[in-house]
Each structure stands twice: as structure tokens, then as C-alpha cells.
Symmetry: C2
Subunit: 489 residues, 2 copies
């Protein structure tokens, strides 16, 4: 991997002086192109200590117009970062379309260091790299131009560089104890980084290794690589073809049809069980909070399935400071300018909370699929993006449960008509509800595929018979309390 | 203040059962009104421990539709909160238009506790309350309906309540050591809170004290107060009159005209001083970072005044990880849905950073005033809002410097023409620039008033003669390095 970056490439001063202004003009032009484009740029600079990552970033910001470019580096995590899954801190700084971010440390830093110092096994390391590949692939497909540069120095060259910096009183501060500590492990770093780069150099997000021994050569080479990537992307900007509605038909024998919607509960039994379950739930959510765990509940189902009422029975038992109900509506323009899941990542609660989603990220594979707001490529890859998202939540200790409340088409009609007749319920029924109803089969097909593809051990779908509201509410409460009891044992 | 809340108000069970459904229906209707409105709601519940703030919040969320309502309570500050001024954590959760937030602790909690335990003098306490008044007044004027409820219990009643809770094993956990500690200081709390409420009960954001001894009375009374406030605001929603352009004429002898724009620097001198100043600046920003201080620079001036070039000379000396250049453009829809300064608060950097604004919050009193994007009432109160914002930055240890780069109208014309003639500069000149130029006098008048009203000791305006770019750049660098040296001594 690194042999080609130890061949002694150099740029003479006169040549640099000739080339630099040209490169700069072209970079500025590309930056103006970005400002009128439909994508964002994430530039990730990794590499060997002493190779001049910061030096180059300074140079690049001098070449470019620094406005609208954010530079990020992460040290010790803040406690807000510690209270969310690893990738949260990167999601939070994802630039909007037409903007750029430079990452001086990244999602590679921690896995590599953990592996070098054997805090992670080879298998764990590979698993984390697989997560990285998934993340980067999603970024690329969601319109983020990811440019990954790796600055390389040979062991001898690194030593020379450190010693040179240490000799000069003005630059001595730049060499830290940790630099020397890392230098002593140079060979191990080289091996681990080589593996990481090999594995994560994909067609969508390839690594470019830059020989960094000569500053002028490094700057010109890195600058040109960035310019090339930008120019290619600018040329390549094919307008995304708009999605077309997906009107698949449901299979005749599917998980939803297999539900027995006649199941019901009488009022007296309901009241008894409700009171008992709510008492347990109240105590369990306090226990959850104390334990620093979180609970994420997703509610999906046809219009008028009774999601709101079920949520009310859940929250009725909880302390208002510990839960939040998120109702998922149309994205804002800031959300539209970023990858799809950004809006959910940005709002991720701190640990110890219950978050209930009345509709959720599954909109991508339900309404957006059926109505064609998302193209086929988008909603099809959403299954694995969502699985990855939920697995990160689960790994972090969040209990994730997802409910599909099923009702029959006849029951939905009855409820729609009831809403139209009752004055204070009229606001609840809109033309959109009737339009969605007309696509009953397509929604059923989409829901079945969703359950099939995203019901995982760590974030299962629970299908609830919803024709009888009392039955549905008790099922939900029961599932939630059971899951909490199991997890908080 | 609290005598009227110790008279023994009670609601009988039968009466409650009659009133509650009516209240709930009306609240739900008001909530639907909010969803179609032009304002947001911040409900702040304060009061004596044991008065049932959480109990009531739970009840209220049960009455209302919990979707879109966020409940916030702050405990120990996180380190990200600690790295910003006190009000940052409240700005960060300000709801967008049509949404509501319930604050279970607020900007009152810390000042009151500090005063009770004598961590703050009476004068410091009053100063903090004045800040609160300013903040709340701004919220009210920016379209936030602020509802402030105070739940009161007499000392005897508080004791009774704690003892009652402690007797029941199910509720024992709700009474903490701190509750009893506070109870022993009840009289002092009463005095301090009384003073705070009296002082901060303004026409725009009055306090409502609720007698909380009887749960049913408390719930109905608080619910009705919220309903009333909502209904009044909904009825009152007069469309904001759009602003009209302000074309004031500048005074003939003003701070800008008094500048000697012929001042200049020859190239050799410039290069010598530039190199020296940049070296100092690089070292000083590292020192700033180490000291955990921040630097905020604001650059304003006519189009083509040379802000971009000056910024380049500043950043050329700094580590890319330590600075950020923010170019202020049109607000996003999320920003438009909140008070004006929200967009600047939300992006407030962590300590140890340099933030450079190429145009800034002063847009309110410059372009928005001149073009009528803001009404007169809005831009006139912006002076004190901005002063308050900057004073909070300064109090927190941020060094704030503001530069007005002045050029003559003739010099601007020369630069515009140059931009039009030079192919790679053409993108820099737009029709808007020519339109702004036609309002030269109005901008000059606005700039003079801005300097007059917002040049403070803690955040001074520095006027820079800009006809000669070299001169301007050196003045800027010199001012910044001098200020850093003074502050980091």
C-alpha cells in the first residue's frame, strides 16, 4: 500500500512557483462550481504523524475561500458525544449541499489506535471497518463527495522530521510525547493502517496515498487530487431521476394478513391490565433512566390505526422529563440538504430517555416508496442503512422496539367515517388520508417487505392486531414492559 | 407576592370531573390553533419543591397532544454547555414557530440558588435578573409566547407534602436530601424568589402564581392560565407589518467621513510588517487556545471594501483547526422560524477558537434596515439585543472586536469597474452590488448609527481606512494582535 509513497518524489521551488498559481485558480473555480451544485464535500485527511496534515490544511484554506468551509478535529469526546453512538459526532457536522468540511481526525482514528494498542481484536477491527464502509457508501450515494487523502512518511523520514522540528525552538512544541510513542510503534501502525486503507478503499470512496516527505510535492499532489475529484463530480452531476410511485401488490399470504384482527379485550379486563401495566412501566422507565440506558419506540401503521391513542397510554405512565414524542413530518430545507438519516441522528436524545416516534425513518420505505418521493435505488438501499442505524443504537445500549399496528380496510373506513361525522375529530381526516387509502395494497406490500428486511434481533418488529383499540394498547404496553424487564434485569 | 397563594383554594372531586374534560377540549383546540399560527410557545414552570411541577407537566402532556412538545430540564451543565455563555443552553432548545417547549428548570434556577446560598451578591443577582428581563423581552417581541407559572406552597404545607411522600414506600424516592436542605431555607428562598418574581413580572412576560396545596385546584388553575394565554395570543395575531426601507441621510460630519482615506502603506513596508504581525498572531492564537479563551472578529463595510482579502491575511497566520470564517447569507427556514439571533447562538464555537464573521448579526441594522427587510421596531431594538449578546460573550471571556472597513464611493466604483473588466473577478460583482451602491448615503447613516449605539468597551468598533488595501490589512492585523496581547497577558 505505502511502497509507492516512498520513492522520493520532489518538486523543485521554481516548478512549484509556476504550478501553484494555476492550481489555486483552478481550485477556486471548482469551489465556485460547488457553490452552485447539488452536492457537498467532505475532505478527510489522514496519515502518519509529522506528515504535515495541518500544514496542508492551512495551505488549502489559504488557496480556497475559507468562507463556508468548516475544519473539524476531535480529541477526547465531550460528555454529550459520550452519550451517543460513535458516529453521532460525525453526523452532527455533515455539511449541507454546496458546503465543505475538512476532517483532520475522522472515523478512522479511533479504530486504528484501538487496534494498534490491542484494545480491539482483528475481528472487532474488521467489524468497525465494515461499519465505516457502510457509512461512506451511504454518504456517496446521498450526494456527498468524500475525498480521502493519506499522507505517508517512511519511518526514517518521520524520525528525521520530528528531530528537525525539535531542534528549532519555534517548532519544538509541535512534537509531543505521543508522537514519539507512536513513532516507536511505526511498524505496527503501518501494518494496521495498510489493512484499513486496503479494506476501505472502495470505488465510491477510494483512498489516495500521498508521499509527504517533500512539502512542495505533497501540497501540489494533494491539491491536484482534490481538484480532480471536484472537477469529476462537477462534470458528472447528472440530475437524479425523480422516483416513480411503486405500486407493488402484496402477496396473498403475508405476515400482515396472517394476523387475527378479531382479537379483542373487554372494557373491564382492559382497565385492570392497563392500570397494572402502566404502574410497571412508570417504575421501569425510572430504572432505565438511572441505568443510563435508552428506549426507542417506533410506531407505524395505516392512517387511523390508533397510533396516537396507543402513545397516550404509554406516556400516561411516564415522567414528562424522561420521554419525548416525535411526530415525523416533511423535512426542513436544512434536512433536505443532507443525507436522509441526518434528521434522526441530529435529534438523538441523551442516554436515559424514552423516545417515541409517531412515524419514523421508515417513511423512506413506506410513503416515499409508494408515492415515488424516493427513487427505487434510494428506498432499496434504505433497508440496510436503517439496519445499520438501529444496530448502532442497539450496540450503544438503546432498547429498540418497532410496532406495526394493523387494521383492516373495512375498519379504517369505519374510523374515517366516524372522524368525518364527529366535529372535534374532523381535523384529523384529510384528503391525503383518502388518497393513501386508495393505495391500500401498495402500502401493505411495502409494509410486508419492510418487516421482512428490517426485523432484526436487536430491533424487532412487533405486529399488533389493531381493529380493537383496547387489545392493541395492551399488546403494546405489554411488549414494552416485557422488553424493559428483560433488558434491565 | 405569595400571600394570595396561601388562602386555601380547593376544587372538589365532582367539580373537577365536570371541568376537566371542558378544559382539555379547549386546550386541544388551542394547540391546533398554535399548529397553524405564526408563533411558538415556551412554558416555564417554576416554584417551590414539592408543589408538583412534574406532576402537572405529566398531566398537561396527557391533556395535550404530546407530539411536537419538548420537555427540558437541566441538571449539572455538560462540558459543551460549560464551554458557552449561560444562555446558550436555552437558545439551543428554543422551539420553532408552531411548536412548544416546557421548561422544568430555566434561567431562573441558577441565579436564585446562587443568591439563596450567597454565591452571588444582591447586586449580582439583580444584574442577572436584568439580563433575564432583556432575554424575555426579546423573546416576546420575536413572536415567542412565554408563559411563566409559579407553583407555591406554604412552609407548613411543604413539610406536610414531603412527610406524606416519605411515608409511602412507592413515593419515598421522590423526596431527596436536597429537598429537605431547601426546606430548611424556606424563608430565605421565599424572600429571594419573591424578589425575582416581582422584578421579572413584566407586561410582556408576567408571572402567574398558582396555589399548589390542592392538586385539583392547581391543575385546573394552571391549565386555565395556559389556555387563556394561548387564546389571547391566537386572537391577537396581528400580521406583522412589513418593514419599509429606511433611507436616512448621513450627518455631514460623522465618524466615517472623519477618516482620512488617503492613508497608505508602500509595498516594502507592508511586507515587512505583515510578516512580523502574522508571526505574532500565529503564536497568540495558540496561546488563546491553551488559555481556553475565544476571539470573535466581525468584519463589516461596503461591498468591495476588501473584507475577504483582509480575512485572508488574518487566517494565513493561523492553524486551520483553530479558526472558522463564517459568511453570513440568507437565513434558512429553520432560522427564520426563530428569534433573529438564534442562528448566531446555535453556531457558537467551543472555547479556544477564533471565529471571523464576514458580515454578521449587524445585517439587522444595516442591509435589513436600509432595504426594509426588518421593520423599524425590529432594527431599533436590535441595538440593545446585540449589545446584550456581545456582553454575554465578553463576560464569558471571549475577546470581541468589530471592524468597519471604510472606502470612498469613488474607490468602490473603481473596484467595481475593475471586477467587471477582469474575467476571474466577474463573479464577485452582482446587480445587488450596484443597487446597494445607489443607497450609499443610507448605508453610511445606518453604519454611523450602528457604531454609535454598539461600540462598547467590551466589544468596540474599530474604523479602518480602506482605500489602500495594504494600509487596511496592517491596521486590522495590528488591532487584533494588540488586543490579544492585552487580554492574554
Amino acid at each position: 500500500m505505502f511502497e509507492t509513497a516512498e520513492v522520493g518524489n520532489k518538486t523543485e521551488k521554481a516548478e512549484y512557483k509556476r504550478q501553484e498559481p494555476k492550481l489555486r485558480t483552478a481550485l477556486l473555480e471548482a469551489q465556485r462550481g460547488l457553490a452552485g451544485s447539488d452536492f457537498s464535500v467532505v475532505l478527510l485527511i489522514g496519515g502518519v504523524e509529522g506528515a504535515g496534515k495541518t500544514e496542508f490544511a492551512n495551505q488549502l484554506l489559504e488557496w480556497l475561500d475559507a468562507r463556508g468551509i468548516a475544519v473539524h478535529a476531535w480529541g477526547e469526546p465531550t460528555d454529550e458525544e459520550r452519550e451517543r453512538p460513535f458516529f453521532w459526532k460525525f453526523w452532527r457536522v455533515l455539511p449541507a449541499k454546496r458546503k465543505a468540511a475538512f476532517l483532520m481526525t475522522s472515523w478512522y482514528s479511533e479504530p486504528i489506535i484501538d487496534r494498534v494498542f490491542k484494545a480491539a481484536s482483528p475481528a472487532q477491527f474488521d467489524q468497525r471497518l465494515d461499519q465505516v464502509i457502510g457509512f461512506e457508501s451511504m454518504l456517496a450515494k446521498e450526494g456527498v463527495l468524500l475525498i480521502k487523502l493519506w499522507f505517508h512518511l517512511s519511518k526514517a523520514e518521520q524520525k528525521r522530521r520530528f528531530s528537525e522540528l525539535e531542534k528549532d525552538p519555534d517548532t519544538r512544541w509541535r512534537v509531543t510525547k505521543q508522537d514519539w510513542k507512536f513513532h516507536r510503534r511505526y511498524d505496527r501502525f503501518r501494518k494496521v493502517c495498510g489493512h484499513a486503507l486496503m479494506k476501505t478503499s472502495t470505488g465510491e470512496a477510494p483512498w489516495y496515498v500521498v508521499e509527504a516527505a517533500d512539502r512542495r510535492y505533497r501540497n501540489l499532489t494533494a491539491g491536484r487530487l482534490i481538484l480532480d475529484a471536484l472537477q469529476r463530480k462537477l462534470k458528472d452531476q447528472t440530475a437524479r431521476s425523480p422516483g416513480s410511485p411503486d405500486r407493488s401488490r402484496p402477496k396473498p399470504n403475508n405476515v400482515i394478513r396472517r394476523l387475527d384482527l378479531r382479537r379483542s379485550l373487554d372494557a373491564a379486563k382492559f382497565e385492570r391490565r392497563l392500570e397494572k401495566l402502566q404502574g410497571r412501566l412508570g417504575a421501569l422507565t425510572r430504572k432505565l433512566h438511572k441505568a443510563g440506558r435508552s428506549l426507542t419506540l417506533v410506531l407505524e401503521g395505516p392512517d387511523a390505526a390508533g397510533k396516537g391513542g396507543a402513545i397516550r397510554r404509554l406516556t400516561g405512565a411516564m415522567d414528562a422529563r424522561l420521554y419525548r414524542v416525535n411526530s415525523v413530518a416533511a423535512p426542513t430545507d436544512e434536512e433536505k440538504a443532507r443525507p436522509y438519516l441526518w434528521r434522526f441522528w441530529r435529534d438523538l436524545p441523551r442516554v436515559g430517555r424514552v423516545t417515541i416516534y409517531d412515524r419514523s425513518w421508515y417513511g423512506r420505505v413506506l410513503v416515499e416508496r409508494v408515492e415515488g418521493f424516493a427513487g427505487q435505488e434510494q428506498w432499496q438501499r434504505a433497508y440496510s442503512e436503517i439496519n445499520s442505524f438501529e444496530s448502532q443504537l442497539a450496540e450503544f445500549g438503546t432498547i429498540v422496539l418497532k410496532f406495526w399496528i394493523a387494521i383492516s380496510a373495512a375498519e379504517q373506513l369505519r374510523r374515517f367515517q366516524d372522524r368525518q361525522k364527529t366535529p372535534y375529530k374532523q381535523y384529523k381526516i384529510t384528503d391525503e388520508d383518502w388518497r393513501n387509502r386508495a393505495q391500500w395494497g401498495a402500502y401493505e406490500a411495502a409494509a410486508c417487505e419492510m418487516v421482512e428486511r428490517t426485523s432484526t434481533e436487536y430491533a424487532p418488529w412487533i405486529l399488533v392486531e389493531g381493529n380493537d383499540k383496547r387489545w392493541a394498547r395492551i399488546q403494546l404496553l405489554q411488549s414494552v414492559t416485557d422488553a424493559l424487564e428483560r433488558s434491565l434485569r
